[in-house]
Symmetry: C2
Subunit: 214 residues, 2 copies
């Protein structure tokens, strides 16, 4: 599997393919053609074949794709064939909600710790993991290598933490703080800007209620 220069547009579609393939697999479907998947997912069959071919041929002429095999291969591409440790920084509502979300564990994302500035939260358990004080974070990372940091703190705090996280081995930041983070090359940031998403929804509603134009 070589993956030089695959565009993020393609990568962004892989989780959705995985979801549909997982459903098919659960329903006992063994093979699927790009045509069938196209009808199901409402994307062109051409795009499906192009997307898969970025990673080498997963199908077979005259047959289509083996669901189970394709599912496994896409999982591997997405790095879901091995575990990823993560910590959550910010034990507010959102941080605790993410800590409690069991499906991440099912995908191999292992919840290692949760930290907060507020000393009153110390010791409260989130899915079996005790909230620690933010002061302990750096020491914790030195003792326990962690791959991913989930930032669910206000933006002011987030920016100041990045350098420390990176120099203590964090490879990826799942950023819920409403700010653009500056990280060195080789460290990945995936942003989830909820308010941006809500604004897009607001735009689309307003546009439709107003001028009715598509």
């Amino acid at each position: 599997m070589q993956n030089k220069g695959i565009s993020q547009a393609v990568i962004g579609r892989l989780p959705r393919y995985l979801r549909y393939l997982g459903d098919l697999r659960e329903n006992g479907v063994e093979r699927v053609s790009s045509q069938e998947l196209s009808a199901l997912m409402r994307v062109t069959a051409s795009q499906i074949r192009q997307d898969f071919n970025n990673f080498g041929g997963f199908g077979q002429q005259g047959y289509g794709y083996n669901v189970d095999y394709l599912y496994t291969e896409i999982s591997k591409i997405l790095g879901l064939d091995h575990e990823h440790s993560f910590i959550i920084i910010g034990a507010g509502n959102l941080g605790r909600a993410l800590g409690n979300y069991l499906n991440f564990e099912r995908r191999g994302f292992i919840f290692k710790g949760i930290f907060d500035m507020n000393p009153e939260l110390e010791g409260i358990e989130v899915r079996g993991v005790k909230i620690r004080r933010i002061e302990e974070l750096e020491g914790f990372l030195k003792e326990n290598p962690v791959e991913i940091a989930v930032l669910t703190i206000p933006k002011t705090g987030a920016v100041g933490l990045v350098d420390m996280l990176v120099s203590n081995g964090i490879r990826g930041i799942w950023n819920f703080a409403h700010v653009d983070l500056d990280v060195p090359k080789g460290v990945q940031v995936e942003n989830v800007h909820l308010s941006d998403s809500l604004m897009k929804l607001s735009y689309n509603i307003s546009r439709y209620n107003g001028s009715k134009k598509k």
Copy 2:
């Protein structure tokens, strides 16, 4: 303000412009050129001018853009100049986290109700709003018109609710359920698929740790 056929790529960038303009405004900056904004935001000045010009000229030759005016105009485009009511369906960790998030209110998104299947949650307050049973939802909507439904329930429940929501006046769905929703034309869906986002991060980390290719 006419907005026929603006691409979602452009719309997706507007909230980020708004954020930077808000910061500039707070710092007392009165005018900004596309060149300055370009350096700040790390997008091309050309893109900035093209984006803004989709909605008519906001700037002035030789001067640039008035920060305050531009901020206001983009707010209007995004529909942030009027209020939007919303309810949350699913009072689990994520639903309650979103209910508690104060910044939405600041943007004009008004929290009207929160519903859950679990009768044990009934009456618990989330930011002053009592959790209601899902059975009350339809009646509630008939009494209280609501624009946006936030779906923070498992996917099985989500699909079955959509028709009822739409026929009771819901105009937009902010969908956190991990499923693609089918809605009639004129109803907007904005998906937040957290696990998809996490998989993208996983891909980018794995790619980098592995073959090192950019």
